[in-house]
């Protein structure tokens, strides 16, 4: 019989946002160790660790952003266009909303539709406010909510390897990709595992 104290301990452990419980444990510097719950533009729930297995381009944005955020999508697309179709198929793109309060699933789906983002590769995600802070901290993104609902934020495109470790990041945005960053993407895709 498991003592009450042990059971409660287990409950507490599971209630915490992060535990390393994958079959073969994630490396200590993996962003996927973050255990918060996310959902995508189709409303399907997932965890970051589910994206294990192929390199990812990750960025943060919000749908009502007027200045930079359209550029973030352009930047990710720019990287995609510079890849061969085989390379493209091995890369995933994850955009996480800074504004879960207003970016509901419908808003995310709308952006995906407008920008013609292929759901096989592109995931537009939302999570709760606390998790947004944590993801931003892991990706090195700084942001501040403004009174009118806009955000001031730094903008970066981050390259993760198949295990969720940061390989490269660039703050140079635009449809023409940063050459050093692009080289890192190609290198990661050359060694990456085939898509799951």
């Amino acid at each position: 019989m498991i003592p009450l104290s042990w059971r409660l301990l287990a409950v507490l452990l599971l209630a915490l946002p992060f535990t390393g419980q994958a079959a073969d444990a994630l490396p200590g510097d993996s962003v996927y160790l973050l255990d918060d719950a996310f959902s995508d533009q189709a409303g399907k729930p997932f965890k970051l660790a589910d994206r294990r297995g192929r390199p990812q381009l990750v960025a943060m944005f919000y749908t009502s952003c007027r200045y930079i955020c359209p550029l973030i999508v352009d930047s990710a697309k720019g990287v995609e266009h510079a890849l061969s179709p085989a390379e493209r198929a091995r890369l995933g793109v994850l955009l996480v909303s800074l504004d879960p309060a207003r970016d509901d699933t419908a808003a995310l789906a709308s952006v995906a539709r407008k920008r013609k983002l292929d759901p096989a590769r592109w995931t537009l995600a939302r999570t709760d406010a606390g998790a947004v802070r944590r993801v931003a901290a892991l990706l090195g993104v700084r942001y501040r909510a403004l009174a009118d609902g806009e955000f001031n934020h730094t903008s970066a495109l981050v390259l993760l390897d198949a295990e969720g470790r940061v390989l490269a990041r660039t703050e140079r945005l635009g449809p023409v990709p940063d050459p050093a960053f692009l080289a890192a993407v190609k290198a990661a895709l050359a060694t990456g595992a085939p898509p799951r």
Partner: protein, 262 residues
């Protein structure tokens, strides 16, 4: 006794914080040292509760005993850099260099967050911290008093090699909170909102692209260098960083006055 332990764990998430206790702060409108473009520097702070003292080594030790994934050596480096709890004698042992009543330092933002959430609380926001720190023994906002500034500045003159004093040694302010100044830097929930440029002399520099629609935050009240230095410090840190002079305390929404302490 062991039977009661899990009961206590369930019912009193603040057990580890029982020593510190919580002080209620009324909040209100508050003029920040940072010139926020959108609100003109005026910030509205909702009423909240703040721990009276920073979290101690003893309290943090209790936390890592119950949450082994936060023990030194087990906490992944993505959440806590290698110097996490470096001065402790062992992962479950504070040792002679880290007295139980000293504020815990060399903890990352992720670790501090986890501790606060385990208490059913959270880290204070920068605005809450700034609002609380403006107080002295008799007033909620003592920032125009040179003595308030001098006391804070004196801390920077204290050599850093000396061991940290225990928490709770200095008089409480008007809210009943101690040690907001002069002991350790403290994490806030939104330190990553400190969007300041690495060169703080570029006040009013119109580089709009840098922070998506806004230039860097300007420091409005340059005389409040005491607070400016905190902003500078927080803006230099990443979530996994730790330093020998950086600790934390928790905040929470106001609790119901009657019934069991939750």
């Amino acid at each position: 006794m062991r039977r009661f332990l899990p009961l206590l764990l369930c019912l009193a998430p603040a057990v580890a914080g029982a020593d510190a206790g919580w002080a209620p702060l009324p909040g209100g409108e508050f003029r920040s040292v940072l010139r926020y473009e959108d609100t003109g520097g005026v910030v509205r702070v909702a009423p909240f509760e703040l721990q009276r003292r920073p979290v101690t080594n003893a309290e943090y030790l209790a936390f890592v005993k119950r949450h082994p994934q936060w023990q030194r050596g087990k906490a992944p480096t993505v959440f806590a850099e290698p110097r996490y709890l470096e001065k402790w004698a062992g992962p479950l042992e504070t040792g002679p260099q880290s007295r139980p009543a000293q504020p815990v330092v060399q903890v990352s933002w992720f670790a501090a967050q986890a501790y606060c959430e385990a208490q059913g609380a959270r880290l204070p926001t920068w605005s809450e911290w700034e609002y609380a720190a403006a107080a002295d023994a008799t007033r909620a906002d003592a920032r125009s008093d040179p003595a308030w500034r001098e006391r804070i500045l004196a801390w920077y003159s204290v050599p850093s090699g000396a061991p940290l004093p225990d928490v709770g040694r200095t008089p409480a302010d008007v809210h009943g909170v101690q040690d907001l100044h002069g002991l350790v830097w403290e994490w806030v929930e939104d330190h990553s909102a400190m969007l300041v440029s690495g060169d703080n002399r570029n006040q009013g520099d119109p580089d709009q692209m840098r922070f998506c629609g806004a230039g860097a935050l300007s420091m409005d009240d340059r005389e409040n260098y005491a607070v400016l230095m905190r902003v500078a410090m927080l803006s230099a840190l990443e979530g996994r960083d730790t330093t020998r002079n950086l600790g934390f305390r928790c905040a929470r929404s106001p609790q119901a006055p009657k019934g069991k302490q939750r």
